[in-house]
Symmetry: C2
Subunit: 410 residues, 2 copies
């Protein structure tokens, strides 16, 4: 039996960087970028007008001129115009190129049109105008050739916007692994069936299917009976067609827990079996010579899901080359008492943000690893270190969240 | 001009609950549940064996018996057996029904097989056995008919698992709105094109496309030129085919900012124009008689995106009937100085969790609303109230995050 930290290390060491593939930018949200993205031009590409108004030579204004003849209109999307008459102005629109011969934009709210057709800068605003006002200088933000996005970035709306602006309508991203999610256990029936009194419906594989869907992965689902020969033949075939096997059940010490011996037979090397943790102790992990990995989670719903969140998700992130992480931790909302043991305890918690911006974890009691309905009230797990019996209010421990909580209504 | 709070209220008041539709459970992740889900049976549905071992009558043990004849094997998935010989035991597997006539499971690690074929409970563990040990009692977690998941829940892996376990392979969820994302501005060209020096590529619509994809919505994208007649005809048609229009650009005070007048002509009532905020001041919002809504965001990339996060996302959540929210706020990592004004300021921030579990917001300086490359370093916006010039380190303000940060590697 090994501890959580060692287990985590062993698992992460098997996470080799996935090959990359080119996909459409519009399909790339949530994927991990595998190329650097550079500015193909300056940002902005020209001196850009930031306000609707008039473009002038500041020098004219500073020499006392406050009304300007209109020499034309520079609209957004039109080629750059030229102010030929130094004492005149050009009307300009937001997004337009700043006309040649001008250097300052006076916004329309500070001007008035006079009867003689000239534009006048309102007296009360004249002193507020400064040289270069409302002009977003060419290359002010980024210069042509600058590195904009480094590979290893999880692509969100912002990365899509930047990639679009430099014309990257196709991008290199990490290939997603082919994943099989497999349930074992003769007591399980399909969710469309009515179970006999000694049966229950398959639910773990659907939990993992859903959790993988949130990562953009569509796994294949399988169910195998507790039969050593059937397991061997089927798993061998499934292993051939996938990069990762996620199993639930069949790794305890029962008579029908054939998986460890079957894995051996089909060339999956055991890297560990059993972690000093609760729930999830019987977790088995191994890999093949060709670096396919097998996560065989204990069959209890909470165990399966906890091990997925705590061990598989980081493995996936590393395989995808995702370099953007946040080490999450939270304070305990209240004391939590536990029978002292050598096992790391994964406590179900609800997350709250207190008025000071402090992440607080409310412990959820009740239910063992079989009570997955309890998880409905939880946002994640808090990892409590072994060897203690009282975890005090305010103490801070790592948390693993399975709900996103970036949504707010105010 | 109205303040952010008023704008937010006006917008949320237009958010009518979407109709519901029935979809497959395997497609339901991320959607909002629109029916209550009840236990169709007890949880667990039977007295469930929690450990591999033997099932006995505790009374026999308490009367001094410590070795038991094996009367058979109760496997998971098999109908319930019956211990006919009161002083014998049945071997049992995790997940099995507890055999009739037994009440306690002694785990296999605490037993040994004797030469006479009997199972003996190891002397050092006898005192640790208690009545009902390792039995997960029928209905202990939930009873048949109990409400498990209330409508209004955003469906995650946990909800999928519970729905699967009660046989809900199809579920009622909120229909997603049909959304059109429209760019305006003659300076914009397609992302596959090489812009002339006075042009830039469309990026805002791709940002919104991506942000909507994260919500499971596939919007239709359009580009319209700055021509009042073309805008009127096209927008009228687009409005017919969608529930929501998201536009960027064309709502400032420029000569070619035709949108407000066009909206009027096609029956979109203005609910407000301009919010006392920076960026995003010229934001226009309206609705039709049939409750279609039009979010016309200012064209600057940061303005568009900020308004989307701050105003559209909560509108969407409310329309979908999503009742699960977290009011996010964070402490300022360092002082932030601003020119005092009447505008609410949306500061670009990076989020950090300090060792105490405190959410901290690192202010990102540099770049105006046109500098969307700056957003690459940001995780969200912090809403700073107007009328102040110094926002002190440690002060707590609401934040609107556009990256999920539930991912951790330890």
């Amino acid at each position: 039996m090994i501890d959580t930290q060692t287990a985590s290390q062993i698992i992460l060491e098997t996470a080799l960087l996935r090959p990359s593939e080119e996909i459409k930018l519009t399909d790339a949200t949530g994927r991990v970028l595998r190329e650097n993205i550079y500015a193909d031009q300056d940002f902005p590409p020209f001196h850009r007008v930031m306000m609707d108004g008039i473009a002038i030579r500041y020098e004219a204004l500073s020499q006392g001129q406050s009304s300007f003849e209109i020499d034309g209109l520079q609209a957004a999307g039109d080629p750059q115009m030229h102010l030929s008459n130094e004492d005149a102005c050009l009307e300009v629109m937001t997004g337009a190129v700043l006309p040649k011969g001008t250097d300052t934009v006076v916004k329309v709210e500070w001007t008035a049109k006079k009867d003689n057709g000239k534009i006048e800068i309102l007296a009360e605003h004249i002193n507020e105008v400064f040289e270069g006002q409302h002009v977003h200088d060419q290359a002010k933000d980024r210069s042509k050739g600058d590195l904009l996005i480094k590979e290893g970035r999880r692509i969100s709306a912002v990365e899509v916007a930047i990639a679009a602006s430099v014309g990257k309508h196709r991008v290199q991203v990490s290939q997603l692994p082919r994943i099989a999610v497999i349930s074992t256990g003769n007591e399980l029936v399909e969710i469309t069936e009515n179970p006999e009194t000694h049966q229950i419906r398959r639910s773990n594989v659907y939990a993992l299917h859903s959790a993988l869907a949130q990562q953009g992965i569509k796994p294949n689902l399988y169910h195998l009976n507790d039969d050593a020969e059937e397991l061997k033949v089927s798993l061998d075939k499934i292993l051939e067609e996938h990069d990762v096997l996620l199993l639930s059940g069949g790794v305890s010490k029962g008579k029908f827990d054939f998986l460890p011996e079957v894995f051996l037979k089909i060339g999956v090397e055991k890297l560990f079996h059993r972690i000093a943790q609760k729930p999830g102790k019987p977790f088995w992990f191994g890999k093949t010579k060709s670096n396919k990995v097998v996560f065989a989670f204990p069959g209890n719903p909470v165990s399966t899901f906890m091990c997925f969140c705590r061990y598989f998700t980081p493995w996936l992130q590393r395989s995808l080359g995702d370099l953007h992480h946040l080490h999450m931790q939270a304070g305990l909302e209240e004391d939590f008492i536990l029978k002292k043991s050598d096992l790391t305890y994964f406590l179900q918690i609800k997350i709250r943000i207190d008025p000071n911006g402090q992440l607080m974890a409310i412990p959820l009691r009740g239910g063992g690893s079989g009570d997955h309905a309890n998880l409905l009230h939880a946002d994640g797990f808090m990892q409590l270190p072994p060897g203690k019996d009282v975890y005090r209010e305010g103490e801070v421990y790592p948390v693993f969240l399975f709900r996103s909580f970036s949504n707010t209504v105010i």
